[in-house]
């Protein structure tokens, strides 16, 4: 099943490099549908406690991986439904293959047990998406792609130093080098060994890992590439990047945390995560008061939410980690919907400047209402799921004796809320321009409406099994 899930996007990418015209759209849609179906089946089994493995254990999907796979395939499905608007004649042979390649690398990153392979896959996500960031080939997108490639490559190389140090810690433990066991970098093996590993080496390793994977996750102060890349990429790619790619970076950090906690005590990783989380919230809250460009505004809102995830992981405990995981899912849904709608707004208004958009609700009723709901969700208002997960994260902060950090986080959250509200208000209301542009009927908005519906579910009434699944996923990385 894991192999099938990985094979579909990979072979689709190969096929799509050859296909053109209508055939490409058909293959793309089919591949996206099968990926979603396979991913949801595998995820459903994994979050009910059935851990799957393949290739002699190199691939392993436990509840946590299953949770991530579900988010990836749902967001990928949403983005795929919108992709044909962007893959025009001639460019579809670049756009579609790289899109599916990006989905493949993300799925590989969360479904492998080997932290080395995970590193390769996370680096692969950058390489697959650089060209997509520069898809429009303007000066601005070129600059964004250059920064993205350079900063993320350097960042991920720093994470490699951390991976080398984890491997070195094993050498130190054995007081001799290390037969080249193929399982030496297996996460499950590391977790068993962790209490015996040198705390000093692992602390150093974690610093490198959090700087490295934190760059991919968009945690401040390593977030500088993020607003550029997320605002310049075509909307489906922005949705994938903001919705799940950031979370894959956070997932990598989450996998290493229990290993470092077991070796060096829980305080070390917590302090770093809480500090970076608060810093990310602060950076985002500052910027959101003066955005200028609505795609950049959404990108900074991603920095804000990844900061919240960092806080949740840092506070820890079942409540903190499951709150962070739920937040990853909620944010993935909300942010991808809003980014996709922002793409439609851009097509209609012809600008990404905030000042150029007004009267959205009257000019584009379907898109405008969806955007309003998505932004309300991103602000963390009830009845949407982000409210619930934020409550869980801050409750974890208070119950884990981190009241000061939790209060600081709440204050920054309110500041960010105000900024987002002000900007969204200016876009949604005011004089509506004459539109000769239609953004497609309400049918094309169905997938996004469904996503918003799920968000209300995670906010108001959890579907049966969600609590158990979330608990199981969080327990995978708790002692």
């Amino acid at each position: 099943m894991i192999l099938l899930l990985l094979a579909v996007p990979l072979s689709a990418a190969a096929l799509l490099a050859l296909a053109r015209g209508r055939a490409a759209t058909v293959v793309h849609s089919l591949a996206a549908l099968v990926t979603v179906a396979a991913g949801m089946t595998l995820a459903a089994r994994a979050v009910s406690g059935l851990t799957a493995a393949a290739l002699d254990g190199a691939l392993r999907v436990d509840a946590l991986s299953g949770w991530m796979i579900a988010i990836i395939v749902i967001v990928a499905g949403l983005a795929a439904a919108e992709a044909p608007r962007y893959a025009r004649e001639g460019s579809s042979r670049v756009f579609y293959p790289l899109f599916h390649l990006m989905v493949f690398t993300m799925l590989l990153a969360v479904s492998t047990d080997d932290v080395g392979v995970m590193w390769v896959a996370v680096e692969g996500t950058t390489l697959a998406s650089v060209f997509l960031v520069n898809f429009e080939r303007t000066r601005a997108s070129l600059e964004a792609a250059y920064k993205y490639l350079l900063i993320c490559s350097v960042g991920i190389a720093i994470a490699f130093v951390g991976t080398v140090l984890v491997y070195y810690a094993e050498a130190v433990r054995q007081q001799g080098v290390i037969e080249h066991a193929p399982h030496a970098l297996r996460w499950t093996a590391l977790l068993v060994l962790a209490p015996a590993l040198s705390p000093r080496v692992l602390q150093l390793a974690f610093v490198f890992l959090i700087v490295g994977y934190g760059t991919k996750a968009g945690l401040a102060p390593m977030h500088t590439w993020l607003p550029d890349a997320h605002s310049e990429a075509p909307a489906p790619v922005s949705a994938l990047m903001s919705g799940v790619l950031l979370s894959v970076g956070a997932y990598a950090i989450l996998r290493f945390k229990p290993i470092v906690d077991a070796a060096a005590g829980p305080g070390f990783a917590r302090r770093i995560l809480v500090a970076l989380g608060l810093l990310s919230l602060g950076v985002a809250a500052t910027f959101l008061w003066n955005p200028g460009n609505y795609k950049r505004m959404l990108a900074y809102s991603s920095v804000e939410h990844i900061g919240l995830v960092g806080l949740g992981l840092g506070f820890g405990g079942t409540l903190g980690v499951s709150g962070a995981l739920l937040h990853v899912a909620n944010h993935g849904l909300a942010k991808s919907v809003v980014f996709l709608l922002a793409g439609r707004i851009r097509a209609a208004y012809g600008t990404v400047e905030l000042a150029g958009v007004s009267g959205l609700l009257r000019a584009l009723p379907v898109t405008g209402r969806g955007f309003l709901l998505g932004v309300l969700a991103l602000m963390g208002l009830p009845p949407f799921g982000l409210f619930t997960s934020e409550v869980m994260i801050f409750a974890a902060g208070f119950s884990q004796g981190q009241a000061c950090a939790a209060v600081a986080g709440l204050v920054l959250l309110v500041v960010a809320f105000g900024g987002l509200l002000r900007a969204a208000h200016a876009m949604l209301f005011g004089p509506a321009p004459e539109m000769d542009h239609t953004t497609g009927g309400w049918m094309t908005a169905l997938p996004m409406a469904a996503a918003l519906g799920v968000l209300i579910l995670t906010g108001l009434a959890w579907p049966p099994g969600l609590a158990a699944a979330l608990d199981l996923a969080a327990r995978a990385v708790l002692p």
Binding site: A144, T163, I178
Partner: protein, 216 residues
């Protein structure tokens, strides 16, 4: 025996890295990058031979092909057509070299306690701070590079140093992962070439100061 050889090779590689910081011409820097790669490849091969790790010998061979032949070719292609000016015209390289020297000290402060943990079990542990110093210097070159070529060189030096660190600290990462790393470095450089070509067309320069469209 093994300790002497590996320490010497790592030490020379660090020396070459320092010269690279000082050297201002782009062609000179590419040549020094090749020399650094040769030394690190030799380091990996030496450990592979002395510690009886045939797989490491293979990794060293691939490393040498990628780093001393493929990547320099792409780098020269990238530079072709760029105005051949010094990396930083009319300015002394004194301060960068001083900073690089300080980074060597920093590397020892960070890595010496960690490398001492391996005690006598790891004959190559003396190379750990040296390789880490190279990594820090590469990062420094990358951050302070004023044009795309300079930043790419810094990244490659950094990446080389991490390979060296992996070799001296763990006798090389598992083969599959090393293969993934080589492939990805190669793809990064090729993508970089694409970006640089477009940059030259758009801006008629590779100066990163021209990249100012996106702010805030």
């Amino acid at each position: 025996m093994m300790t002497t050889i590996t320490n010497l090779l790592a030490f020379f590689a660090l020396g070459v890295t320092l010269v690279l910081v000082w050297r201002q011409s782009w062609r000179g820097r590419v040549r020094l990058f090749v020399v650094q790669s040769l030394l690190l490849g030799a380091l990996a091969a030496a450990i592979g031979a002395l510690a009886d790790r045939p797989s490491l010998l293979l990794v060293a061979a691939i490393f040498l092909v990628v780093k001393t032949w493929l990547i320099p070719r792409v780098l020269r292609r990238m530079a072709a057509g760029a105005p051949l000016r010094p990396v930083r015209p009319g300015r002394s390289a004194g301060i960068p070299v001083l900073v690089a020297g300080a980074l060597v000290v920093v590397a020892y402060v960070i890595m010496l306690p960690v490398s001492d943990l391996a005690s006598s079990a790891l004959p190559t542990r003396g190379g750990i701070p040296l390789a880490f110093a190279m990594a820090l210097i590469g990062l420094f070159v990358c951050i302070t590079g004023r044009d795309a070529l300079g930043q790419v060189t810094g990244f490659l030096v950094f990446e080389n140093a991490i390979f060296g660190l992996g070799v001296v600290a763990t006798y090389g990462m598992p083969g599959l992962i090393e293969a993934g790393v080589f492939l990805e470095v190669l793809v990064v450089v090729l993508l970089m070439e694409g970006v640089v070509v477009q940059m030259r067309r758009e801006h008629d320069s590779l100066d990163v100061d021209r990249l100012q469209e996106l702010r805030g």
